[in-house]
C-alpha cells in the first residue's frame, strides 16, 4: 500500500468547533488550496503529507474531523492512535475559543495521554474582527502545556509552520522513546499506539530504521 518511503508515520487529528477552518487548514497544508465556500465536513477526511525533519522523512496522516460529531463512539475513533492534535479555534469568534476547554477535556478523556496538542488560532487575517487576543490565548496555552500558534489558512501564514512544529515536536518525543523501547520490542501492545515508525509494523510500535 505504501507508495513512498518514510521513516515515521504520525497520525494527527484536527479538532475544534465547527466552522473554525479545520478543513481549509488541511487543504492549505496538503494541497495548498483554499476553498472559500467549503461546506462543513461530514464524517472524516484524510490527507497525508511528508515532511523532512533531521533528514528523516515524516509522514503525517491528518484526520480532518467533523466539528459537530455528537457520538463519542465515533469521536473516540478519531482520536484512536493519534499522536498529535491541532486544536483549532477562530480568533474572530470568542465562543470557539471558550470551547477549547471542552475539547481539551475530550482529548484527555479519549486520546492517548501522551498526545501532543497544539492550540491554533485560525483566521488571523481577520484582524479587524479579532475577538481573542494573542496574549490571552498564549497564556492559556502555557497554562495547559500546549504549544500555540496563530494561522491563516486564507493567506497561508503560519500553516506550514504549525504542522512543521507539531510534527517536529512529536518526532522529538518519539525518537527519544523509540530507541529504548526498541530494545524490548513491542512494548506497546495496544493497537491504539500513537507511534509507528515503519509501515510494515505499526502495531509493534517500532523497528529499526
Amino acid at each position: 500500500m505504501a507508495s513512498d518511503e518514510y521513516d515515521f508515520l504520525f497520525k494527527v487529528v484536527l479538532i475544534g468547533d465547527s466552522g473554525v477552518g479545520k478543513s481549509n487548514l488541511l487543504s492549505r497544508f496538503t494541497r495548498n488550496e483554499f476553498n472559500m465556500d467549503s461546506k462543513s465536513t461530514i464524517g472524516v477526511e484524510f490527507a497525508t503529507r511528508s515532511i523532512q525533519v533531521d533528514s528523516k522523512t515524516i509522514k503525517a496522516q491528518i484526520w480532518d474531523t467533523a466539528g459537530q460529531e455528537r457520538y463519542r463512539a465515533i469521536t473516540s475513533a478519531y482520536y484512536r492512535g493519534a499522536v498529535g492534535a491541532l486544536l483549532v479555534y477562530d480568533i474572530s469568534k470568542h465562543i470557539t475559543y471558550e470551547n477549547v476547554t471542552r475539547w481539551l477535556k475530550e482529548l484527555r478523556d479519549h486520546a492517548d495521554s501522551n498526545i501532543v496538542i497544539m492550540l491554533v488560532g485560525n483566521k488571523s487575517d481577520l484582524r479587524h474582527l479579532r475577538a481573542v487576543t494573542t496574549d490571552e490565548a498564549k497564556a492559556f496555552a502555557a497554562e495547559n502545556h500546549l504549544s500555540f500558534i496563530e494561522t491563516s489558512a486564507l493567506d497561508a501564514s503560519n500553516v506550514e509552520l504549525a504542522f512543521q512544529n507539531i510534527l517536529t515536536e512529536i518526532y522529538r518525543i518519539v525518537s527519544s522513546k523509540v530507541l529504548p523501547e526498541n530494545e524490548h520490542g513491542g512494548s506497546i501492545p495496544d493497537r491504539g499506539i500513537p507511534l509507528s515508525d515503519q509501515p510494515k509494523n505499526d502495531q509493534g510500535g517500532g523497528k529499526c530504521c
Binding site: 465515533i74 475513533a77 509494523n201
Partner: protein
C-alpha cells in the same frame, strides 16, 4: 348702395340665348299655353322636374319664362350642377371650399361692413369685377341675382345677396382657381381662343352652375349641333373654323365632353354621330402618325400627331399603335433563339450565355426606345409601361417559355438552375431600363408587376419541381450513404475515440458553418430596385450582368457606387470609385452553377473543419454523418435560394413561394431527422443495449476504462446536437432572415416540424442515455467485482498488513470514478442542460445504489474503514462536482454511515444509538438498512450481542 346699383345696372334684357330664336314669340306662346293648360290639373312637381331634365336647354329657358314656379325649377342650381357633373367639369371640393370661404369672408365683411363701408366698396369692386368680365362670354345668359332680387323685392336682401355673389363667385376667383383646377396642358393649341379652353375654364361655384353651363353651352352648342348634322367630315364648321389639327382635336374632345350633358331627345344619335366624326378624325391623325413612324420622323410628324391624339383622347391610340407596330415585337428572333442555350442537341447541357446576350440586346433596344419615346410623346403620357408590358409578354415570354419547357423535358436540375438564371436576367433587365420622362413614380413597381407576369405561367411548376427535386436528391443521398455504411459496418467496427476538447471543436465548426450560411450566395440577388438609382442613367448598366464575376480579385467595372453590403465578399482593393464592386445582383456563373465563386473560401474552410471534426468523431461515422447533414443543408440552401427569388413577388406568387420554401425546409428536416439521425440513434441504442462488459477482452486493464458503445452514443449525441444547431442556424439565417417564414407564428408548419425534430432528438437522446446508464452501471458493477480486493476494506485478513499507511481511495474506487466521470464529461456541451442534469442525477443515483450494494458484500474492519471512508469521500468529491444537491445528500448520508465502521468494538452499545439515529442519515437510510450495513463489520459476531441488546432492549436476551 353701390352694390344694388351695380346689379340694377345690369342689362335687363338678356342677349338671345341661342342664335336664331325668336324672343318675342316666347311670352305669346307661353301665354297661350297657360291658357290652355290652366284647366288641367297641374302635374306633381317631381314629375315636372324630371320632365325638365329631358328638355333641351333652349326649351328649358323658354319654360322658365312661363311662370315663377317653372322658372324656379328650371333655374334650380342642382339641375345645372348635374349637367356640369355629367361633363366631368364639376369639382365638388372646389365648390365647397368656395362656399366656406365665402361664408368666412361674409362674416368678416359683415363686421367690417358698418364702419369701413366706403373703403371696402372701392376695393372690392375694383378687384372683382374686372376678371369676371375678361372671361365672361355668355355669363349674362342667366342672371340669378337680378331674378332673385326682384323676387325678394327687398333692397336689403339684394345687397346682401350681391355681397355673397361677389364673395363666392368673383373675388375669390383668382386665388381659388389656381390650386384647385389643373388645366391640361394644351401643347400647340391657341389658348387665346376662349372657345378652345371653355371647358377647362369652368368654375365650380354653388349657385352659379347655370351661368357656367350657359357659358359652355353658348360656346359649344353651335359647333355641336353643326357637327352632328354635318353630312361628311369636311363639312362641319369646327373643321372649317379651326384649321390646326391640334385645335380640331381639342374642339372634338370638348364636344365629346359636352355631348355628355346633352340629355334631350335624340342625344344618342347625336352622340354616335359625334363619335364617328371623332374616329374619322382620329384615324386620319393615326395615319399621319403611322406615316411618321414608318419614316422614323420622331421629332416631326410623330411627335406632332402624338400630341394631337393626346389632345383628342389621351393618345391611347397612338400608344397602342406605337407598341403594336414596334419592330421589337416582330424581330424577336434577331435577339436570340432560345434553343441556342443548349450546347448539345439532346443532352441537358445548358449555357446561359445566349440567354444573357438576348437580354442584353433587348435591354439596349428597350433603352433606345425609351429615349425615342421621350422624343415622341410629351412627358405626361406614360408609354413605357404599356410598351414594356408588350415586350414582357411577346418578347421575353416567347423567349423563355420554349427554353424552360425544353430544359424541363431534358433535365430537372438544369431546369431549376435555368429558371433562376433567367429570373436574374429578367430582374437585371428590368433594372437596366431607364424610365422615360412620362413614367410615373411607381415605375419600378410597374416593372416588377411585369416581371411577375412573365413568370406567372412558370412558377407553379417550378416550385413543385424544386421541392420534388430536393426531396429526391436528399433521399438518394441518404440511401447511398446508408448502403455504403451497411457495407462497411460489418467490416469495421473499431471505434476511435478522441476526447480532446470536443466543445471547442464544435463551436469552431458551428462558427464556420454560420459564416457559410451568412455568406450571400450569388443565387440570391439583392433586393431589386433598391440599390440602383434609377433616376441616374447608367451608361453601362448591363456590365455586371454581362460578365460573370470571374474571381474575387477582379471587379467588373461599373458605375454604381453603392457600397457592397456583403461583408464576406472580398472587396477588391481599388481606390478608383469607378471600379467599386457593384452592389447589384451578383452574377450566376457561366456554367449555370448557382454556387458562386466568392463563396469558395469559407466553404472550403468549412469543409476542412468538417473533415477535422470527422476524424475526431470517427467513432460515430458509421451511424450518421455530419458531412451528409452538411451536404443536405447545402442542397437545401441552394434550393431555398432559388425558390427565394420568387418570394419577393407580391401577392399570390410570393405567398406560394414562401410556403414552398418552408416545405423545402420541412423536407430537409424530415429526411435529416427521420431518415438519417433517427435511424442512426436507433442503431446506436440497439448497439448499446447489447453491450456486455464481461465479453470484453481482458487486454485492456489500464486506467482508461471506457464503455465504447456509450462513448459512441455520446458522440452521436454530440453530432446530433451539432446537426440540430446547424438546422437552427440555417433556419434563422435562411428562412427568418430572408423573411421566408414568420418566426412567431407557432402554427407555422416549418416551426412545428423543427420542434418535432428537436423533440425527436431529445427523445432519442433520452432513450439512448437510459440504455447508456444501464450499460455504464453494469460496467461499474463489473469494475467493482473485478478490482475490489477483499483486503481493501479488511486488511487484517491477510497476515498483519495492518494499519493502512497510504491514505487514499482504493483502486476500485478510482477506476469507478474515472469511468463514470469520463462518460458524464462526454455529454457536457452536447445536449440540453436539463437533459444533462437528469442524466447526471440518474448516473449518480445508480452509482450510489451500486456502491451500497457493493458495500453489503464486503467485510470491513476498523482499519479498512479508513480506506472505505477515503473511497466514499472520493465518490462524494466526484458527485459534488456534478453540482446536484439532491445527489450530494445521498453521498453525505453514505459518508455518515461509513463512520460506523470506525467505531471501536468496546462502544458497541453506543453504536446502537448511531444506528437508530434516523436524523443522522436524513431519512436516506432506514434503521434496518443501517443495521444491515453494520453487519458487514469484520467483528460483527463479537459485537452483535451488545449492539442488539442496546437496540432492542433486554427482552431479547431473555429469550
Amino acid at each position: 348702395m353701390e352694390n344694388n346699383q351695380r346689379f340694377s345696372d345690369r342689362p335687363t334684357s338678356l342677349p338671345p340665348p341661342f342664335p336664331g330664336q325668336n324672343r318675342m314669340s316666347v311670352p305669346v306662346s307661353l301665354h297661350s299655353t297657360k291658357l290652355v293648360v290652366r284647366p288641367l290639373p297641374s302635374l306633381p312637381v317631381e314629375i315636372i322636374a324630371t320632365i325638365l331634365d329631358y328638355v333641351p336647354v333652349s326649351t328649358l329657358m323658354r319654360c322658365a319664362r312661363a311662370s315663377k314656379k317653372l322658372r324656379e325649377m328650371a333655374y334650380d342650381d342642382s339641375r345645372w350642377v348635374n349637367k356640369l357633373v355629367a361633363m366631368g367639369v364639376w369639382n365638388e371640393g372646389e365648390a365647397r371650399r368656395r362656399f366656406e370661404d365665402a361664408l368666412k369672408k361674409k362674416r368678416i365683411a359683415q363686421a367690417k361692413f358698418a364702419d369701413e363701408e366706403r373703403r371696402r366698396r372701392a376695393a372690392s369692386i375694383g378687384a372683382s369685377v374686372e376678371p369676371r368680365k375678361s372671361i365672361g362670354m355668355g355669363d349674362t345668359l342667366f342672371d340669378v341675382n337680378e331674378h332673385e332680387a326682384k323676387a325678394n323685392g327687398s333692397a336689403a336682401a339684394v345687397s346682401k345677396l350681391a355681397q355673397d355673389v361677389e364673395l363666392m363667385g368673383l373675388s375669390t376667383q383668382s386665388d381659388i382657381q389656381a390650386p384647385v383646377k389643373e388645366k391640361p396642358k394644351l401643347v400647340g393649341v391657341d389658348t387665346s381662343d376662349p372657345t378652345l379652353t371653355v371647358l377647362s375654364d369652368v368654375r365650380s361655384a354653388r349657385g352659379f352652375a347655370r351661368q357656367e353651363y350657359g357659358r359652355v353651352y353658348a360656346a359649344l352648342w353651335p359647333y355641336y349641333i353643326d357637327l352632328v348634322s354635318a353630312r361628311n367630315h369636311a363639312d362641319p364648321v369646327v373643321f372649317r373654323r379651326y384649321r390646326n389639327p391640334e385645335d380640331q382635336a381639342v374642339m372634338l374632345r370638348q364636344l365629346g365632353v359636352f355631348s355628355e350633358s346633352d340629355s334631350s331627345l335624340g342625344w344618342a344619335e347625336r352622340s354616335s354621330r359625334l363619335n364617328s366624326m371623332s374616329s374619322i378624325f382620329e384615324n386620319a391623325v393615326l395615319r399621319e402618325f403611322e406615316g411618321g413612324y414608318e419614316e422614323s420622323d420622331y421629332d416631326g410628324r410623330m411627335k406632332r400627331y402624338a400630341n394631337v391624339l393626346i389632345l383628342l383622347n389621351g393618345g391611347q391610340g397612338a400608344i397602342d399603335l406605337f407598341v403594336a407596330k414596334h419592330y421589337l415585337m416582330f424581330e424577336r428572333e434577331r435577339l436570340g433563339n432560345p434553343m441556342d442555350c443548349f450546347t448539345n442537341l439532346h443532352s441537358a447541357d445548358l449555357s446561359m450565355e445566349p440567354a444573357r446576350r438576348f437580354f442584353t440586346l433587348l435591354s439596349e433596344a428597350v433603352n433606345e426606345q425609351s429615349s425615342i419615346i421621350d422624343r415622341i410623346f410629351p412627358p405626361d403620357v406614360d408609354v413605357m409601361i404599356p410598351f414594356l408590358e408588350r415586350i414582357g409578354e411577346d418578347v421575353i415570354g416567347e423567349y423563355i417559355s420554349p427554353l424552360l419547357e425544353e430544359t424541363h423535358d431534358r433535365d430537372i436540375e438544369s431546369y431549376l438552375k435555368c429558371i433562376t438564371d433567367i429570373y436574374f436576367s429578367v430582374v437585371q433587365f428590368s433594372k437596366s431600363i431607364h424610365p422615360a420622362k412620362g413614367s410615373e413614380r411607381n415605375f419600378t413597381d410597374d416593372i416588377t408587376k411585369i416581371v411577375v407576369r412573365i413568370f406567372e405561367p412558370h412558377y407553379d411548376t417550378y416550385l413543385q419541381e424544386e421541392l420534388d427535386h430536393f426531396r429526391r436528391l436528399c433521399e438518394e443521398e441518404v440511401e447511398t450513404w446508408e448502403k455504403k455504411i451497411t457495407d462497411e459496418y460489418t467490416a469495421t467496427e473499431s471505434f476511435y475515440l478522441s476526447n480532446i476538447n470536443r466543445q471547442a471543436d464544435k463551436i469552431d465548426f458551428l462558427a464556420s458553418f454560420k459564416k457559410v450560411i451568412l455568406m450571400p450566395v450569388n443565387a440570391i440577388p439583392l433586393p431589386p430596385m433598391k440599390q440602383i438609382n434609377l433616376a441616374f442613367p447608367l451608361p453601362l448598366p448591363m456590365n455586371p450582368f454581362m460578365r460573370p464575376k470571374p474571381a474575387v480579385t477582379v471587379a467588373p467595372p461599373s458605375i454604381s457606387d453603392a457600397p457592397t453590403d456583403n461583408p464576406y465578399e472580398v472587396t477588391p482593393d481599388v481606390t478608383d470609385s469607378q471600379a467599386v464592386e457593384n452592389a447589384a445582383p451578383p452574377t450566376p456563373i457561366s456554367d449555370g452553377r448557382v454556387t458562386p465563386q466568392p463563396q469558395t473560401a469559407p466553404t472550403t474552410e468549412l469543409a476542412a473543419k468538417a473533415a477535422i471534426l470527422n476524424t475526431r468523431m470517427e467513432g460515430i461515422r458509421t451511424l450518421f454523418s455530419i458531412e451528409l447533414a452538411l451536404d443536405l443543408v447545402h442542397k437545401a440552401k441552394t434550393a431555398l435560394e432559388r425558390a427565394g427569388c420568387f418570394v419577393r413577388f407580391q401577392g399570390r406568387i410570393g405567398e406560394e413561394a414562401k410556403e414552398q420554401c418552408e416545405q423545402i425546409f420541412i423536407c430537409l428536416i424530415n429526411i435529416l431527422g427521420q431518415r438519417h439521425v433517427k435511424s442512426g440513434f436507433d442503431k446506436a441504442v440497439t448497439h448499446l443495449s447489447q453491450y456486455n462488459p464481461r465479453e470484453l477482452s481482458t487486454a485492456e486493464e489500464d486506467e482508461q476504462v471506457i464503455v465504447k458503445p456509450l462513448v459512441q452514443f455520446m458522440e452521436l449525441v454530440n453530432v446530433g446536437d451539432l446537426i440540430q444547431q446547424m438546422l437552427d442556424v440555417f433556419y434563422e439565417q435562411e428562412l427568418v432572415a430572408h423573411k421566408l417564414t414568420d418566426k412567431n407564428d407557432f402554427l407555422n408548419p416549418a416551426i412545428k416540424e423543427k420542434k418535432r425534430f428537436e423533440q425527436m432528438l431529445d427523445e432519442r437522446v433520452a432513450a439512448g442515455l437510459n440504455t447508456g446508464i444501464d450499460v455504464l452501471i453494469k460496467e461499474v458493477d463489473y469494475v467493482f467485482a473485478k478490482t475490489q480486493k477483499p483486503t481493501d476494506y479488511n486488511p487484517g485478513i491477510v497476515g498483519d498488513l495492518g494499519f493502512p499507511t497510504d491514505l487514499g481511495p482504493s483502486e476500485a474506487a478510482r477506476k469507478v470514478v474515472s469511468l463514470v466521470a469520463s462518460h458524464t464529461k462526454l455529454l457536457v456541451g452536447s445536449t440540453d442542460k436539463n437533459v444533462l442534469d437528469v442524466f447526471n442525477q440518474e448516473v449518480g443515483m445508480r452509482l450510489w445504489s451500486s456502491i451500497c450494494k457493493h458495500l453489503k458484500i464486503q467485510r470491513i474492519s476498523i482499519d479498512g474503514a479508513i480506506v472505505l471512508i477515503s473511497d466514499i469521500n472520493h465518490y462524494t468529491q466526484f458527485i459534488v462536482k456534478l453540482r446536484n444537491s439532491g445527489l450530494t445528500q445521498y453521498y453525505n448520508a453514505l459518508r455518515e454511515l461509513v463512520q460506523i465502521y470506525l467505531i471501536d468494538p468496546q462502544h458497541a452499545k453506543q453504536m446502537a444509538a448511531v444506528i437508530a439515529d434516523g436524523t443522522r442519515f436524513k431519512g436516506i437510510f432506514t434503521v434496518e438498512e443501517v443495521y444491515e450495513f453494520v453487519t458487514r463489520r469484520s467483528d460483527w459476531y463479537q459485537i452483535k450481542k451488545d449492539v442488539e441488546k442496546a437496540m432492542y432492549g433486554f427482552g431479547c436476551s431473555v429469550m
